[in-house]
Protein backbone atom coordinates (compact mmCIF):
# COMPACT_ATOMS: atom_id res chain seq x y z
CA UNK A 1 0.00 0.00 0.00
CA UNK A 2 2.60 2.49 1.07
CA UNK A 3 4.84 1.61 -1.80
CA UNK A 4 1.92 2.21 -4.11
CA UNK A 5 1.25 5.62 -2.67
CA UNK A 6 4.87 6.45 -3.23
CA UNK A 7 4.61 5.32 -6.80
CA UNK A 8 1.51 7.37 -7.37
CA UNK A 9 3.42 10.37 -6.08
CA UNK A 10 6.33 9.60 -8.33
CA UNK A 11 3.94 9.36 -11.23
CA UNK A 12 2.44 12.73 -10.34
CA UNK A 13 5.92 14.16 -10.27
CA UNK A 14 6.69 12.76 -13.67
CA UNK A 15 3.57 14.25 -15.11
CA UNK A 16 4.33 17.59 -13.59
CA UNK A 17 7.84 17.70 -14.94
CA UNK A 18 6.82 16.25 -18.26
CA UNK A 19 4.07 18.76 -18.74
CA UNK A 20 5.64 21.49 -20.78
CA UNK A 21 8.48 19.77 -22.44
CA UNK A 22 8.92 19.99 -26.17
CA UNK A 23 8.52 23.37 -27.65
CA UNK A 24 9.42 24.75 -31.00
CA UNK A 25 11.73 27.74 -31.22
CA UNK A 26 11.68 28.06 -34.97
CA UNK A 27 8.67 28.02 -37.27
CA UNK A 28 9.01 27.11 -40.89
CA UNK A 29 6.35 27.45 -43.52
CA UNK A 30 7.33 25.02 -46.21
CA UNK A 31 6.37 24.43 -49.80
CA UNK A 32 7.87 21.56 -51.68
CA UNK A 33 8.15 20.40 -55.25
CA UNK A 34 8.66 16.81 -56.29
CA UNK A 35 10.88 16.70 -59.34
CA UNK A 36 10.27 14.10 -62.02
CA UNK A 37 12.46 13.00 -64.91
CA UNK A 38 10.99 12.45 -68.34
CA UNK A 39 10.65 8.73 -67.79
CA UNK A 40 8.40 9.39 -64.81
CA UNK A 41 10.97 8.63 -62.11
CA UNK A 42 11.41 10.94 -59.14
CA UNK A 43 14.79 12.64 -59.04
CA UNK A 44 14.54 14.85 -55.99
CA UNK A 45 12.74 17.42 -53.89
CA UNK A 46 12.92 21.17 -54.09
CA UNK A 47 12.09 22.96 -50.85
CA UNK A 48 11.28 26.57 -50.09
CA UNK A 49 11.28 27.14 -46.34
CA UNK A 50 10.17 30.46 -44.94
CA UNK A 51 11.33 31.14 -41.39
CA UNK A 52 9.37 33.08 -38.79
CA UNK A 53 10.33 36.71 -38.32
CA UNK A 54 11.98 36.18 -34.95
CA UNK A 55 14.36 33.56 -36.27
CA UNK A 56 14.89 35.59 -39.45
CA UNK A 57 16.00 38.59 -37.39
CA UNK A 58 18.33 36.34 -35.44
CA UNK A 59 19.80 34.78 -38.57
CA UNK A 60 20.63 38.08 -40.27
CA UNK A 61 22.04 39.64 -37.11
CA UNK A 62 25.44 41.16 -37.80
CA UNK A 63 25.33 40.52 -41.55
CA UNK A 64 26.68 43.28 -43.76
CA UNK A 65 24.30 44.78 -46.24
CA UNK A 66 24.54 47.75 -48.55
CA UNK A 67 21.03 48.85 -47.80
CA UNK A 68 19.88 48.81 -44.21
CA UNK A 69 17.15 46.28 -43.58
CA UNK A 70 17.51 44.66 -46.99
CA UNK A 71 19.71 41.76 -47.96
CA UNK A 72 20.51 40.55 -51.43
CA UNK A 73 20.91 36.93 -52.41
CA UNK A 74 24.68 37.48 -52.64
CA UNK A 75 24.89 39.02 -49.20
CA UNK A 76 23.01 36.05 -47.83
CA UNK A 77 25.16 33.54 -49.71
CA UNK A 78 27.43 32.53 -46.82
CA UNK A 79 24.43 32.16 -44.51
CA UNK A 80 22.67 29.92 -47.02
CA UNK A 81 25.74 27.76 -47.20
CA UNK A 82 25.90 27.49 -43.42
CA UNK A 83 22.23 26.57 -43.40
CA UNK A 84 22.45 23.69 -45.84
CA UNK A 85 25.67 22.42 -44.29
CA UNK A 86 24.09 22.38 -40.86
CA UNK A 87 20.94 20.74 -42.10
CA UNK A 88 22.87 17.68 -43.21
CA UNK A 89 23.07 16.48 -39.63
CA UNK A 90 19.29 16.39 -39.51
CA UNK A 91 18.84 14.66 -42.84
CA UNK A 92 17.32 17.92 -44.06
CA UNK A 93 14.23 17.07 -42.02
CA UNK A 94 13.07 15.29 -45.16
CA UNK A 95 12.31 11.59 -45.14
CA UNK A 96 11.34 9.68 -48.27
CA UNK A 97 10.04 6.16 -48.68
CA UNK A 98 9.50 4.58 -52.08
CA UNK A 99 7.12 1.64 -51.84
CA UNK A 100 8.01 1.37 -48.18
CA UNK A 101 11.77 1.45 -48.72
CA UNK A 102 13.79 4.35 -47.29
CA UNK A 103 15.50 6.52 -49.85
CA UNK A 104 18.53 8.72 -49.27
CA UNK A 105 19.39 12.16 -50.54
CA UNK A 106 22.58 13.64 -51.88
CA UNK A 107 23.84 16.98 -50.64
CA UNK A 108 21.70 19.97 -51.60
CA UNK A 109 22.24 21.87 -54.80
CA UNK A 110 20.94 25.21 -56.10
CA UNK A 111 20.57 26.69 -52.65
CA UNK A 112 20.03 30.33 -51.77
CA UNK A 113 18.28 32.58 -49.31
CA UNK A 114 16.09 35.54 -50.01
CA UNK A 115 14.87 38.19 -47.61
CA UNK A 116 11.47 39.70 -48.15
CA UNK A 117 9.04 41.39 -45.76
CA UNK A 118 11.49 40.82 -42.89
CA UNK A 119 11.51 37.06 -43.32
CA UNK A 120 14.06 34.70 -44.81
CA UNK A 121 13.25 31.94 -47.24
CA UNK A 122 15.70 29.13 -47.85
CA UNK A 123 15.51 27.47 -51.26
CA UNK A 124 17.31 24.23 -51.93
CA UNK A 125 17.09 21.09 -54.01
CA UNK A 126 17.69 17.66 -52.57
CA UNK A 127 18.58 15.15 -55.29
CA UNK A 128 17.72 11.53 -54.53
CA UNK A 129 20.79 9.31 -54.47
CA UNK A 130 19.03 6.95 -56.81
CA UNK A 131 16.03 8.19 -58.79
CA UNK A 132 13.06 5.94 -58.15
CA UNK A 133 9.83 5.12 -59.89
CA UNK A 134 7.63 3.69 -57.16
CA UNK A 135 3.91 3.02 -57.12
CA UNK A 136 3.76 4.98 -53.91
CA UNK A 137 6.09 7.64 -52.61
CA UNK A 138 5.77 8.95 -49.06
CA UNK A 139 7.62 12.12 -48.18
CA UNK A 140 7.60 13.42 -44.64
CA UNK A 141 8.87 16.81 -43.56
CA UNK A 142 9.27 17.30 -39.84
CA UNK A 143 11.70 17.72 -36.97
CA UNK A 144 11.68 14.67 -34.73
CA UNK A 145 12.60 16.72 -31.76
CA UNK A 146 10.18 19.54 -32.50
CA UNK A 147 12.67 22.35 -32.16
CA UNK A 148 11.36 23.43 -35.51
CA UNK A 149 7.67 23.47 -36.20
CA UNK A 150 7.12 22.69 -39.89
CA UNK A 151 3.91 23.71 -41.53
CA UNK A 152 3.16 23.27 -45.17
CA UNK A 153 2.07 26.48 -46.87
CA UNK A 154 -1.62 27.19 -47.16
CA UNK A 155 -1.52 27.72 -50.90
CA UNK A 156 0.23 25.28 -53.21
CA UNK A 157 2.03 23.40 -50.47
CA UNK A 158 3.13 20.60 -52.79
CA UNK A 159 3.74 20.61 -56.49
CA UNK A 160 4.51 17.67 -58.72
CA UNK A 161 6.84 18.92 -61.43
CA UNK A 162 6.71 16.82 -64.58
CA UNK A 163 4.86 13.93 -62.97
CA UNK A 164 2.96 11.41 -65.07
CA UNK A 165 -0.64 12.58 -65.49
CA UNK A 166 -2.26 9.80 -63.50
CA UNK A 167 -0.30 10.43 -60.29
CA UNK A 168 -2.37 11.41 -57.27
CA UNK A 169 -1.01 13.55 -54.46
CA UNK A 170 -2.35 13.64 -50.92
CA UNK A 171 -1.13 15.83 -48.06
CA UNK A 172 -1.72 15.04 -44.38
CA UNK A 173 -1.12 18.03 -42.19
CA UNK A 174 -0.25 17.62 -38.56
CA UNK A 175 -3.08 19.88 -37.49
CA UNK A 176 -5.54 17.22 -38.53
CA UNK A 177 -6.41 15.81 -35.14
CA UNK A 178 -7.77 12.44 -36.13
CA UNK A 179 -4.97 11.69 -38.54
CA UNK A 180 -2.44 12.62 -35.88
CA UNK A 181 -3.98 10.37 -33.27
CA UNK A 182 -4.09 7.45 -35.64
CA UNK A 183 -0.61 8.02 -36.90
CA UNK A 184 0.68 8.27 -33.38
CA UNK A 185 -0.81 4.93 -32.46
CA UNK A 186 0.49 3.19 -35.51
CA UNK A 187 3.92 4.71 -35.34
CA UNK A 188 4.26 4.19 -31.66
CA UNK A 189 3.33 0.55 -31.60
CA UNK A 190 4.39 -0.66 -34.99
CA UNK A 191 7.48 1.27 -35.92
CA UNK A 192 9.15 0.94 -32.58
CA UNK A 193 12.38 2.92 -32.73
CA UNK A 194 11.02 5.32 -35.28
CA UNK A 195 8.25 6.41 -33.03
CA UNK A 196 8.85 9.75 -31.46
CA UNK A 197 7.42 12.97 -30.39
CA UNK A 198 8.06 14.97 -33.55
CA UNK A 199 6.12 12.41 -35.51
CA UNK A 200 2.95 13.98 -34.26
CA UNK A 201 3.88 17.07 -36.20
CA UNK A 202 4.91 15.42 -39.43
CA UNK A 203 3.68 16.67 -42.75
CA UNK A 204 3.05 13.61 -44.85
CA UNK A 205 2.95 13.80 -48.61
CA UNK A 206 1.78 10.68 -50.40
CA UNK A 207 1.98 10.29 -54.16
CA UNK A 208 0.34 7.29 -55.82
CA UNK A 209 1.16 6.52 -59.40
CA UNK A 210 -0.67 3.44 -60.63
Amino acid sequence: MRAWLGLVLAAAMMLASGAAQAHPHVWITASSELLYAEDGSITGVRHAWTFDDMFSAYAVQGLESKKKGAYTREELGPLAQTNVESLKEYAYFTFAKADGKKERFNEPVDYFLDYKDTVLTLHFTLPLKNPVKPKQLVLEVFDRSFFIDFQMAKDNPVKLVGAPADCQMKLDRPSDGTATAQKLNEQTFMDGPNANFGMMFANKITVDCP
Partner: protein
Protein backbone atom coordinates in the same frame (compact mmCIF):
# COMPACT_ATOMS: atom_id res chain seq x y z
CA UNK B 1 18.86 -2.49 18.23
CA UNK B 2 18.16 -2.90 14.62
CA UNK B 3 15.47 -5.43 13.83
CA UNK B 4 16.10 -7.68 10.87
CA UNK B 5 14.31 -6.90 7.70
CA UNK B 6 12.56 -9.84 6.13
CA UNK B 7 13.86 -10.70 2.67
CA UNK B 8 10.42 -10.04 1.23
CA UNK B 9 10.19 -6.57 2.72
CA UNK B 10 13.68 -5.82 1.53
CA UNK B 11 12.89 -6.99 -1.98
CA UNK B 12 9.70 -4.94 -1.99
CA UNK B 13 11.52 -1.83 -0.90
CA UNK B 14 14.27 -2.37 -3.38
CA UNK B 15 11.86 -2.78 -6.26
CA UNK B 16 9.85 0.24 -5.15
CA UNK B 17 13.04 2.27 -5.05
CA UNK B 18 14.05 1.09 -8.47
CA UNK B 19 10.65 1.91 -9.87
CA UNK B 20 10.74 5.33 -8.33
CA UNK B 21 14.22 5.94 -9.66
CA UNK B 22 13.16 4.77 -13.09
CA UNK B 23 10.14 7.00 -12.87
CA UNK B 24 12.20 10.02 -12.00
CA UNK B 25 14.78 9.14 -14.61
CA UNK B 26 12.12 8.71 -17.21
CA UNK B 27 10.48 12.01 -16.46
CA UNK B 28 13.79 13.75 -16.42
CA UNK B 29 14.94 12.11 -19.60
CA UNK B 30 11.76 13.19 -21.27
CA UNK B 31 12.72 16.67 -20.36
CA UNK B 32 16.18 16.38 -21.62
CA UNK B 33 15.23 14.72 -24.83
CA UNK B 34 12.37 16.92 -25.65
CA UNK B 35 13.81 20.30 -24.96
CA UNK B 36 16.21 21.80 -27.35
CA UNK B 37 15.99 19.24 -29.95
CA UNK B 38 17.62 19.77 -33.29
CA UNK B 39 18.52 16.24 -33.94
CA UNK B 40 17.87 13.44 -31.52
CA UNK B 41 18.05 10.55 -33.90
CA UNK B 42 16.30 7.71 -32.15
CA UNK B 43 14.19 8.20 -29.13
CA UNK B 44 12.08 5.16 -28.85
CA UNK B 45 8.75 5.26 -27.14
CA UNK B 46 9.20 8.80 -25.97
CA UNK B 47 5.95 9.51 -27.67
CA UNK B 48 3.05 7.80 -25.96
CA UNK B 49 2.51 9.92 -22.87
CA UNK B 50 2.44 13.13 -24.85
CA UNK B 51 -0.62 12.22 -26.81
CA UNK B 52 -2.96 13.72 -24.23
CA UNK B 53 -5.00 16.80 -24.86
CA UNK B 54 -3.45 18.66 -21.96
CA UNK B 55 0.04 18.51 -23.40
CA UNK B 56 -1.25 19.55 -26.75
CA UNK B 57 -2.96 22.49 -25.15
CA UNK B 58 0.17 23.52 -23.26
CA UNK B 59 2.20 23.32 -26.43
CA UNK B 60 -0.32 25.32 -28.35
CA UNK B 61 -0.43 27.99 -25.64
CA UNK B 62 3.30 28.23 -25.47
CA UNK B 63 3.69 28.57 -29.21
CA UNK B 64 0.92 31.10 -29.25
CA UNK B 65 2.60 33.29 -26.62
CA UNK B 66 5.99 32.99 -28.22
CA UNK B 67 4.75 33.88 -31.65
CA UNK B 68 2.88 36.87 -30.29
CA UNK B 69 6.11 38.22 -28.89
CA UNK B 70 7.54 39.31 -32.23
CA UNK B 71 4.41 41.15 -33.29
CA UNK B 72 4.13 42.77 -29.86
CA UNK B 73 7.72 43.99 -29.97
CA UNK B 74 7.04 45.46 -33.39
CA UNK B 75 3.92 47.12 -32.06
CA UNK B 76 5.88 48.54 -29.12
CA UNK B 77 7.96 50.58 -31.54
CA UNK B 78 5.06 52.88 -32.23
CA UNK B 79 2.82 52.20 -29.27
CA UNK B 80 4.45 52.27 -25.84
CA UNK B 81 1.56 50.54 -24.12
CA UNK B 82 2.29 47.37 -26.11
CA UNK B 83 5.24 46.88 -23.78
CA UNK B 84 2.84 45.88 -21.03
CA UNK B 85 1.36 43.26 -23.31
CA UNK B 86 4.86 42.09 -24.12
CA UNK B 87 5.68 41.70 -20.44
CA UNK B 88 2.54 39.73 -19.79
CA UNK B 89 3.12 37.46 -22.77
CA UNK B 90 6.72 36.86 -21.73
CA UNK B 91 5.66 35.93 -18.23
CA UNK B 92 3.01 33.54 -19.51
CA UNK B 93 5.47 32.06 -21.97
CA UNK B 94 7.97 31.51 -19.18
CA UNK B 95 5.41 29.61 -17.14
CA UNK B 96 4.39 27.37 -20.00
CA UNK B 97 7.84 26.97 -21.35
CA UNK B 98 9.08 25.90 -17.92
CA UNK B 99 12.78 25.32 -17.54
CA UNK B 100 14.44 26.97 -20.51
CA UNK B 101 17.35 24.61 -20.83
CA UNK B 102 15.82 21.22 -20.71
CA UNK B 103 17.87 19.80 -17.93
CA UNK B 104 17.20 22.61 -15.48
CA UNK B 105 14.18 21.08 -13.87
CA UNK B 106 15.74 17.65 -13.71
CA UNK B 107 19.00 18.85 -12.19
CA UNK B 108 17.31 21.00 -9.57
CA UNK B 109 14.82 18.30 -8.61
CA UNK B 110 17.53 15.64 -8.45
CA UNK B 111 19.82 17.88 -6.44
CA UNK B 112 17.09 18.64 -3.93
CA UNK B 113 16.19 14.99 -3.55
CA UNK B 114 19.80 13.85 -3.29
CA UNK B 115 20.70 16.49 -0.75
CA UNK B 116 17.61 16.26 1.43
CA UNK B 117 16.88 19.87 0.85
CA UNK B 118 13.68 21.59 1.79
CA UNK B 119 10.98 22.81 -0.50
CA UNK B 120 11.85 26.32 0.57
CA UNK B 121 15.37 25.94 -0.65
CA UNK B 122 14.04 24.42 -3.81
CA UNK B 123 12.05 27.56 -4.46
CA UNK B 124 15.05 29.78 -3.72
CA UNK B 125 17.28 27.74 -6.03
CA UNK B 126 14.70 27.82 -8.81
CA UNK B 127 14.44 31.58 -8.69
CA UNK B 128 18.17 32.14 -8.43
CA UNK B 129 18.98 29.85 -11.35
CA UNK B 130 16.24 31.37 -13.51
CA UNK B 131 17.59 34.83 -12.76
CA UNK B 132 21.06 33.71 -13.72
CA UNK B 133 19.74 32.23 -16.96
CA UNK B 134 18.16 35.54 -17.84
CA UNK B 135 21.36 37.41 -17.07
CA UNK B 136 23.47 35.05 -19.15
CA UNK B 137 21.14 35.44 -22.12
CA UNK B 138 21.25 39.22 -21.80
CA UNK B 139 25.04 39.19 -21.49
CA UNK B 140 25.50 36.96 -24.53
CA UNK B 141 23.32 39.10 -26.74
CA UNK B 142 24.42 42.36 -25.16
CA UNK B 143 28.11 41.69 -25.67
CA UNK B 144 28.14 39.77 -28.92
CA UNK B 145 25.28 41.32 -30.85
CA UNK B 146 24.94 44.78 -29.41
CA UNK B 147 28.53 45.72 -28.64
CA UNK B 148 30.46 43.57 -31.11
CA UNK B 149 27.76 43.30 -33.78
CA UNK B 150 28.65 39.65 -34.21
CA UNK B 151 26.74 37.42 -36.59
CA UNK B 152 24.28 34.74 -35.60
CA UNK B 153 26.97 32.19 -36.43
CA UNK B 154 29.38 33.67 -33.90
CA UNK B 155 26.70 34.05 -31.30
CA UNK B 156 25.59 30.51 -31.80
CA UNK B 157 29.17 29.31 -31.39
CA UNK B 158 29.43 31.17 -28.11
CA UNK B 159 26.18 29.59 -27.07
CA UNK B 160 27.57 26.21 -28.02
CA UNK B 161 30.71 26.72 -25.95
CA UNK B 162 28.69 27.75 -22.91
CA UNK B 163 26.55 24.72 -23.47
CA UNK B 164 29.49 22.32 -23.41
CA UNK B 165 30.76 24.02 -20.26
CA UNK B 166 27.35 23.64 -18.65
CA UNK B 167 27.26 19.93 -19.49
CA UNK B 168 30.69 19.46 -18.01
CA UNK B 169 29.49 21.28 -14.90
CA UNK B 170 26.48 19.00 -14.60
CA UNK B 171 28.70 15.95 -14.90
CA UNK B 172 31.09 17.29 -12.26
CA UNK B 173 28.26 18.26 -10.00
CA UNK B 174 26.76 14.78 -10.43
CA UNK B 175 30.09 13.13 -9.79
CA UNK B 176 30.47 14.96 -6.51
CA UNK B 177 26.92 14.09 -5.47
CA UNK B 178 27.45 10.44 -6.39
CA UNK B 179 30.69 10.33 -4.42
CA UNK B 180 29.09 11.79 -1.32
CA UNK B 181 25.80 9.94 -1.63
CA UNK B 182 27.42 6.68 -2.67
CA UNK B 183 29.36 6.53 0.55
CA UNK B 184 26.26 7.30 2.56
CA UNK B 185 24.32 4.68 0.67
CA UNK B 186 26.94 2.00 1.23
CA UNK B 187 27.01 2.88 4.89
CA UNK B 188 23.23 2.56 5.03
CA UNK B 189 23.52 -0.81 3.30
CA UNK B 190 25.99 -2.00 5.88
CA UNK B 191 23.79 -0.70 8.62
CA UNK B 192 20.93 -2.89 7.52
CA UNK B 193 23.02 -6.03 7.72
CA UNK B 194 22.13 -8.03 10.77
CA UNK B 195 24.97 -7.27 13.16
CA UNK B 196 25.15 -7.17 16.91
CA UNK B 197 23.88 -3.88 18.16
CA UNK B 198 26.75 -3.02 20.43
CA UNK B 199 30.38 -2.26 19.90
CA UNK B 200 31.45 -0.37 16.85
CA UNK B 201 28.44 -0.94 14.71
CA UNK B 202 28.56 1.11 11.57
CA UNK B 203 25.81 3.59 11.61
CA UNK B 204 24.34 6.11 9.30
CA UNK B 205 22.67 9.42 9.35
CA UNK B 206 20.07 8.53 11.91
CA UNK B 207 22.38 9.94 14.44
CA UNK B 208 22.21 13.27 12.84
CA UNK B 209 18.53 13.53 12.89
CA UNK B 210 18.68 12.88 16.50
CA UNK B 211 21.74 14.80 17.28
CA UNK B 212 20.18 17.78 15.72
CA UNK B 213 17.18 17.42 17.91
CA UNK B 214 19.35 17.16 20.91
CA UNK B 215 21.35 20.17 20.13
CA UNK B 216 18.56 22.40 19.05
CA UNK B 217 14.98 23.06 19.67
CA UNK B 218 12.45 20.35 19.04
CA UNK B 219 10.07 22.82 17.49
CA UNK B 220 12.46 23.29 14.63
CA UNK B 221 10.50 21.35 12.06
CA UNK B 222 11.44 22.76 8.73
CA UNK B 223 12.74 19.63 7.31
CA UNK B 224 12.37 16.04 6.60
CA UNK B 225 14.21 14.17 9.22
CA UNK B 226 10.99 12.98 10.78
CA UNK B 227 11.63 9.89 8.72
CA UNK B 228 14.44 8.65 10.85
CA UNK B 229 13.47 10.28 14.04
CA UNK B 230 11.89 7.30 15.71
CA UNK B 231 14.58 4.88 14.88
CA UNK B 232 17.15 7.41 15.77
CA UNK B 233 15.89 7.46 19.32
CA UNK B 234 16.57 3.79 19.78
CA UNK B 235 19.62 3.71 17.66
CA UNK B 236 21.38 6.72 18.83
CA UNK B 237 21.61 5.89 22.46
CA UNK B 238 23.39 2.68 21.73
CA UNK B 239 26.37 4.54 20.36
CA UNK B 240 28.81 7.15 21.16
CA UNK B 241 28.33 10.69 20.20
CA UNK B 242 31.75 11.31 18.81
CA UNK B 243 31.00 9.29 15.69
CA UNK B 244 28.47 11.76 14.61
CA UNK B 245 30.37 14.15 12.45
CA UNK B 246 32.88 12.01 10.70
CA UNK B 247 30.85 11.17 7.64
CA UNK B 248 30.86 13.67 4.86
CA UNK B 249 30.82 17.35 4.33
CA UNK B 250 27.06 17.41 4.12
CA UNK B 251 26.65 16.07 7.55
CA UNK B 252 27.06 19.33 9.32
CA UNK B 253 24.10 20.75 7.53
CA UNK B 254 22.10 17.98 6.02
CA UNK B 255 19.02 18.80 8.02
CA UNK B 256 17.72 21.46 5.76
CA UNK B 257 18.32 25.05 6.54
CA UNK B 258 16.85 27.17 9.21
CA UNK B 259 15.72 30.51 7.81
CA UNK B 260 18.92 31.98 9.15
CA UNK B 261 20.99 29.46 7.27
CA UNK B 262 19.08 30.05 4.08
CA UNK B 263 19.70 33.75 4.12
CA UNK B 264 23.24 33.55 5.41
CA UNK B 265 26.26 33.29 3.16
CA UNK B 266 26.77 29.63 3.95
CA UNK B 267 23.29 28.82 2.72
CA UNK B 268 23.89 30.43 -0.60
CA UNK B 269 27.35 29.05 -0.99
CA UNK B 270 25.96 25.60 -0.58
CA UNK B 271 23.41 26.02 -3.32
CA UNK B 272 25.69 27.99 -5.57
CA UNK B 273 26.95 24.96 -7.45
CA UNK B 274 23.38 24.05 -8.35
CA UNK B 275 22.54 27.60 -9.38
CA UNK B 276 25.64 27.87 -11.53
CA UNK B 277 25.13 24.47 -13.09
CA UNK B 278 21.59 25.20 -14.10
CA UNK B 279 21.78 28.90 -14.66
CA UNK B 280 24.81 29.12 -16.91
CA UNK B 281 22.97 27.86 -19.91
CA UNK B 282 20.56 30.41 -21.34
CA UNK B 283 17.29 29.65 -23.01
CA UNK B 284 17.36 29.73 -26.80
CA UNK B 285 13.98 31.42 -26.77
CA UNK B 286 15.30 34.31 -24.70
CA UNK B 287 18.25 34.80 -27.04
CA UNK B 288 15.98 34.89 -30.06
CA UNK B 289 13.70 37.43 -28.40
CA UNK B 290 16.65 39.60 -27.39
CA UNK B 291 18.19 39.64 -30.84
CA UNK B 292 14.83 40.38 -32.37
CA UNK B 293 14.25 43.25 -29.95
CA UNK B 294 17.73 44.56 -30.70
CA UNK B 295 17.01 44.48 -34.43
CA UNK B 296 13.88 46.53 -33.76
CA UNK B 297 15.89 49.03 -31.76
CA UNK B 298 14.09 48.05 -28.57
CA UNK B 299 16.77 46.13 -26.75
CA UNK B 300 15.49 47.27 -23.36
CA UNK B 301 12.09 45.76 -24.10
CA UNK B 302 13.83 42.49 -24.90
CA UNK B 303 15.67 42.66 -21.58
CA UNK B 304 12.46 43.28 -19.68
CA UNK B 305 10.80 40.42 -21.54
CA UNK B 306 13.71 38.12 -20.70
CA UNK B 307 13.42 38.83 -16.99
CA UNK B 308 9.68 38.24 -17.04
CA UNK B 309 10.25 34.99 -18.90
CA UNK B 310 12.73 34.03 -16.21
CA UNK B 311 10.19 34.82 -13.52
CA UNK B 312 7.59 32.63 -15.20
CA UNK B 313 10.12 29.84 -15.63
CA UNK B 314 11.14 30.11 -11.98
CA UNK B 315 7.55 29.66 -10.85
CA UNK B 316 7.17 26.47 -12.85
CA UNK B 317 10.52 25.06 -11.79
CA UNK B 318 9.82 25.96 -8.16
CA UNK B 319 6.50 24.13 -8.35
CA UNK B 320 8.25 21.04 -9.71
CA UNK B 321 10.94 21.33 -7.04
CA UNK B 322 8.28 21.47 -4.32
CA UNK B 323 6.56 18.41 -5.76
CA UNK B 324 9.86 16.53 -5.90
CA UNK B 325 10.75 17.38 -2.32
CA UNK B 326 7.26 16.59 -1.03
CA UNK B 327 7.16 13.27 -2.84
CA UNK B 328 10.44 12.34 -1.27
CA UNK B 329 9.36 13.49 2.17
CA UNK B 330 6.21 11.46 1.96
CA UNK B 331 8.10 8.44 0.74
CA UNK B 332 10.42 8.93 3.70
CA UNK B 333 7.58 9.14 6.14
CA UNK B 334 5.90 6.09 4.70
CA UNK B 335 9.04 4.02 4.81
CA UNK B 336 9.92 5.22 8.29
CA UNK B 337 7.84 2.45 9.86
CA UNK B 338 10.01 -0.11 8.17
CA UNK B 339 13.00 0.15 10.40
CA UNK B 340 16.38 -0.33 8.78
CA UNK B 341 14.91 -0.73 5.35
CA UNK B 342 13.36 2.71 5.49
CA UNK B 343 16.66 4.45 5.86
CA UNK B 344 18.16 2.28 3.19
CA UNK B 345 15.26 3.16 0.96
CA UNK B 346 15.85 6.86 1.45
CA UNK B 347 19.59 6.59 0.88
CA UNK B 348 18.73 4.56 -2.18
CA UNK B 349 16.56 7.36 -3.57
CA UNK B 350 19.21 9.94 -2.76
CA UNK B 351 21.90 7.92 -4.41
CA UNK B 352 19.65 7.36 -7.41
CA UNK B 353 19.00 11.07 -7.75
CA UNK B 354 22.72 11.81 -7.52
CA UNK B 355 23.47 9.18 -10.15
CA UNK B 356 20.84 10.73 -12.36
CA UNK B 357 22.60 14.10 -12.33
CA UNK B 358 25.86 12.40 -13.29
CA UNK B 359 24.16 10.48 -16.08
CA UNK B 360 22.61 13.64 -17.51
CA UNK B 361 25.90 15.45 -17.47
CA UNK B 362 27.83 12.60 -19.04
CA UNK B 363 25.10 11.91 -21.57
CA UNK B 364 24.88 15.53 -22.62
CA UNK B 365 28.61 16.06 -22.64
CA UNK B 366 29.46 13.04 -24.74
CA UNK B 367 26.56 13.49 -27.06
CA UNK B 368 24.52 10.45 -26.10
CA UNK B 369 21.70 12.83 -25.55
CA UNK B 370 21.99 14.78 -28.74
CA UNK B 371 18.64 16.37 -28.20
CA UNK B 372 19.88 19.39 -26.36
CA UNK B 373 22.63 20.44 -28.69
CA UNK B 374 22.49 23.95 -29.91
CA UNK B 375 22.73 23.90 -33.63
CA UNK B 376 23.82 26.84 -35.58
CA UNK B 377 21.91 26.84 -38.76
Amino acid sequence: MKPHLSPLARALLASAAVLLAVGVADAALHDVLAQNPFGAPKQAAAAEPEASGLIGWLLAKQSEFYRQMSSTIRAAKSDGSAVWTLLFISFAYGIFHAAGPGHGKAVIASYLVANRETARRGIALSFASALMQSLVAILIVGISAWILNATAKTMCKAEGAIEIASYALIALFGLRLVWVKGRTFIRALEATQPVPALAGVPHDHHDHGHHHHDAHDHRDQHHSHDDHHDRAQAHHHAHHHTHDHVHDEHCGHSHGPTPRELAGPGGWRRGFAAILTVGIRPCSGAILVLVFALAQGLFWAGIAATFLMGLGTAITVAAIAVIAVSAKDIAGRLSAGRDGGGALFMRDIEFGAAALVLLFGAGLLFGYIAAERTTCF
